[in-house]
Structure formats: structure tokens, C-alpha cells
Subunit: 372 residues, 2 copies
Amino acid sequence: MSFSFEVIKTQGRARAGVIHTSHGDIPTPVFAPVGTQATVKAVTPQTLRELDASLILANTYHLHLRPGDDLIRDLGGLHRFMAWPGPILTDSGGFQVFSLTQINKIDEDGVTFRSHIDGSKHRFTPEVSIKIQQNLGADIIMCFDQCPTPTDRGAVEAAVTRTSNWAIRCREAHPCDDQQALFGIVQGGIYEDLRAQSAAFLQGIDFPGYAIGGLAVGESKADMYKTLDFTLPVLPVDKPRYLMGVGEADDLAEAIMRGVDVFDCVMPTRVARHGAALTLDGRINMRNLEHARDENPLDAGCTCYSCQNFSRAYIRHLMKAKEILGCMLLSIHNVHFLIQHVQSMRAAILNGDLEDYTRAFLQRYLQAAASN
Amino acid sequence: MSFSFEVIKTQGRARAGVIHTSHGDIPTPVFAPVGTQATVKAVTPQTLRELDASLILANTYHLHLRPGDDLIRDLGGLHRFMAWPGPILTDSGGFQVFSLTQINKIDEDGVTFRSHIDGSKHRFTPEVSIKIQQNLGADIIMCFDQCPTPTDRGAVEAAVTRTSNWAIRCREAHPCDDQQALFGIVQGGIYEDLRAQSAAFLQGIDFPGYAIGGLAVGESKADMYKTLDFTLPVLPVDKPRYLMGVGEADDLAEAIMRGVDVFDCVMPTRVARHGAALTLDGRINMRNLEHARDENPLDAGCTCYSCQNFSRAYIRHLMKAKEILGCMLLSIHNVHFLIQHVQSMRAAILNGDLEDYTRAFLQRYLQAAASN
């Protein structure tokens, strides 16, 4: 089946829907774990299936540099390479060439940068980014964009213009969405007029989905929510909306309430490697002494493998002893927590009790965060 | 069910049997993966079950130092702590206090040493080792012994005497084998008379199983096999025999042919973390460039999760990119390889074709090793 999207039910501005892809359906809202280097860190694809992941993200920048997108193409594409049969989304590399490289230079045509791995020189243009993403073969691919500091109006204006021009070139390089759907990325920082300008321009090109880029990069939560308040209404209702790089549970709730459908974030697996467990009562540092003799699971009531089988005391021991299994169990739990959180909100939309659910969730979560 | 052992069938000196424990049956011969710090590194207990592991080993020395055997006892014992419901064997700590600590001092009563973790001072005696193992609650526990350089006759003589004296004290500290079976450890290095002396002395005490210690610690393979040739005949036929710390596939084959029932080794998971895959054609370094575009699995015909789903190219990518999943997949494969290898030899004993099977295995394995 080629790419399509349907909204099943709405409540307020929130939507429950389904994205159809040739590798399976993605019920939305959806949280996508990130497999930067073609693996969600410390989690097997089999376990991702058991966690009910329906979409994962992989990174164009990393996979181009290592092992190479040509190699992945020759071995049958990313799904086969990483043994993940479900839907995949790849980013454009636009964010990483600025955030991960020490030396980079942007011009109207593209970005020249040096690899963070070996210092070798590379150049990404819209056409190069699309070609790499075609080689990788993900179900959803992204336009090459520029992500500026969201509160620097001059920089944001330039980035919107550049992102618009590059969006035209990406569409020309990838005119058909049947096997790989090309999403546009709305920039504009925290500025309502610039977000509207960017969104209108991209809709003129006509994409099968729209991402909101340039958020969760240092601005305040209030700024992020306000930006979502005025950005989502200028996006088409019949296309999926993807808020890039956002994964904090309260942000997911706020964004879903405002009409976002798709999320990704490295956070759940990254903080797992540092010993943190995500719970309805906020983040817990499992390295703390208070857990040394605690027989309870990470999160009471959680149904994940880690919580069904292991105590906080055991997981603390694993982290203190630098055992890989500690990262594995915390990654399983944290990915499960965010997937379940978003699935619960989807169920609440379908049941018509989203507002009550979200209010109760946020009250507990934010109260705990404030007291932590 | 309390501890017992039965031999089901013999072929030559090799035996197929079953060890019964209160946590389940252990078909023998058996290879036990090692969970030094209460986790088989990078493998979940669920996966160990899927790999058909029927016995795992944990280390008294490590668990006493961290998180503490009293903590594990208070949390319900090692089975519950690490969520492994099957049989567990703990060693005595005698080997580690010498191999892992920089500062240690032995006397007739025990060993004083400093922790490799924080330099803190500790003392192990036979009674302390037994007490720790009782706190941990494994199904099979070991006498506190001294493991000398096997080719230094003077040192070996002293170690045999000391190990004998300590075996009496261990038996007195643990008189009942119903819930935890206490095995004696035969020392004697490469010397036939000393092995016979040690074995005879221990049988006078009467243990429910006997380990052969002090091998695979630097002596030649020829010396190891010769030592097994004269040590196994002086052990009782109706008790399990455990060759400590041996895990190379050819050594397992040679030892099973000579009548060994139980093995353990950290090797499969240790070499996995360094990128090595165990195969019927010897060890493969997955970091090598030759695997960069290889679509084949680690080992043709292998039925493990790693080989059923992933290419050598992918696993090489994971190792080059320092991804945890690389260690996880190689650990799964390597543990599977050794468990299957020993299970195949057990099946061959039951089928009566052990000699043909072993000859074919060794021919292929050693030929490959010679050409690697």
C-alpha cells in the first residue's frame, strides 16, 4: 500500500489517526524511538516489536558517513539491513551537519562540513540529502532544511527563505510519494508571521506531511507551546504533523492537545544509559543510594519486561557495576513508557476523555517534577 | 526436589545425564554461561531461556563486594534478584582473590585481600565463602580452594594440602546438600599422583559432585587433556564432574569424551564484546573489513536470533560504530553456539555416535583454526 493518512477522530484540536505505509500502519499520535546509527541503542528489533513501536527514526547524516548509504542500498535498504520490517522515517541530515560538526559552512546551494568521526570533508545539498534518503529507503523522508536559533529573528528569516528554496529542490528531486513520502519542514522560530509564511509556502509545493522544525532546541517550554498554538492552525488538517525531536512526556501531552501526530526523540534511550528511569512521577536517577534495597519495580503498574521482572535494587546494582544489562532494561522501560503514554492519549481521544486524561497526567507529572 | 544426579547413557567414558535441582533439571553435559555480577553480560534472562541455558554461574567474590551477599539474601536470594528462575552455580571466590586482587596474603586459615573496586580490605575463609554462598542461595556451591600454577610442583603440593583442609571446613559449614549441593574441588596441577591424592581425600569427605580446578590457567592443551585422562578415572561415576573455567569448543569436545559433565566460561560473552563470533570454522573477527558488505549471517545454518535476522555487514557496522546492540547480538550467538555444541554432543552420546560426531567436529574446527 502506498502512503496515505486518515484522521479517525478529533477532540478539540487533537486527532487520532492512522498513517498507512508499504511497511505497515502507524496509529497516530505516535512516538518514534530513534535508531541514529540503524539501531535503537541497546534494544533489539524484536523487543521494539514487543514494545509496540510502530515507527522508528534513523539518521541520514550518521548513516551516510558510516557505513554509507550506498552500502545499505546494495544490501537491500535500511529495513533489511537493521532487520526492522516496520515503518521507518529518516531525517534530512540538516540538523546534524550543524549540531555535530565543528567545522561547517552554509551557502545558498548547501552545506560543506567535516565528519565528526574522522574529519573528512563532505557536502550536503537538498539533492544529496534526498539521494541518500532514497538509498536508505525509509517510508517517510524529510526535506533538507536549516534549523536556526529560534529566538534570533534575523537568522530565522534567512533560514525560512533558504528552507523554502531547498524544499522546492527536494520536491523536484523526489516527485513521487508512493513508496517514500517526502515531508516538508516548517521553520520560523518563535515568530508567528514567519511560521505562517513558511507553512504557506510549503503547502504551495504540496507535501503529504508537514514537520515543525526548529523547536526543542533551547527555547522555553512556554515559547514552544505558544509556537505550536499558532503553527498547527496554519497546517492542513488532512496531513500528518510531525514535531521533530520532542520527547518529554509533558511536551508530548501539550503538543498532542494542540494537534501534533508524530514525535521522535533520542531522550528515552540516552537518559537510560545515564541511569534514569521515566515514570508518571517524573525522572528517577537509579544510581541513587535510596534505591539500593528497593524491591519495587522502576514504575509501579508498568507492564514492561523490566518492571515485570526486576527490582530497582537490581537495576541500581547493574548501573553501579557498569553492566550493559542496566542500559538494556532502562531503555526498554523508557521506550515503553513514552510509547504507552502516547497510546494512552490516543485511546483518550477515541474515548472522548482526552482533556480529563491529560489534566490528570500533567498534574501528577509536573507536581512530581517540581518536587524532584 | 532436592539435589540428585543420574547418568542416562554412557559411550566410552562420556556420559549423558541429568542433574536435578529444586530450580529445575540440568541435562548434562552442559555449558553454563557466566553471570559474574549477577548478569550474563548483555543478555537478558528471557533470552538465556530462549537460548536453552539450563545452568548459569555467578561469582561469589564479585557479589560479596557489590552489591553485597547480605543485600541479595534480604531481597530473596540470587534467583529472584537477577530474575533467573533456573539452576545457578556459584564459585567460592578462591580463584578471584588471587587473579583479580593486586594485594593478597594467604595463610592456613584463609586469604586477606584488597577489593579490586575500592581497595577496601577483606578476608575470605572457607567458612566465610560458604556463608556468602548460602546468602546467595545458588543450587550448586563450591568449596573454597587454592588454585596454584599447575606446573609448579611445590606450589601444587601445598595447594592440595590446603584445599583438602579447607574442604573439611567447608563440609562442616555446609553439612546438608538438599537445597544447595556443595561440590569439592580437586586440585593437583598436571601431576597424576597429586590429582589422585586430592580426589581420594575429597571422596573421603563425600561430596555430591566434584570439580576439577586448576586447569585452563596457562598450561598447554596437551597437558590439560593428559590431566583429564588420569583425573576423571579417579572420580566417582555416580557424581557430576565439573571442569571449571573451560569453554573453548575443542576443549569441551575433548573433555566430554573423557567424562566431564559440567562446564562454565566467560569466553563467549567476553570475546563478543571484542567483536568475535564463534563458529564451527573457528573464531571470526567481525571488525575486519572483509565483512563490510557480507550479507551472510555470522554462521551459516545457525538458528540463533542474531543469525536468523542480521548480516555480517550489519554486525560489523554495529561494532565499528560502538553500538551496544553489536555486543548483544554477538553474545547471543556465542552463547547459543556453545550451548548447542554441548547439546549436540549430548545427543550424539544418546544416539551412540559420539566418536564420529566428535571426530568430524574437531577435524573441521581445528583445520579452520590452523588456517585462521
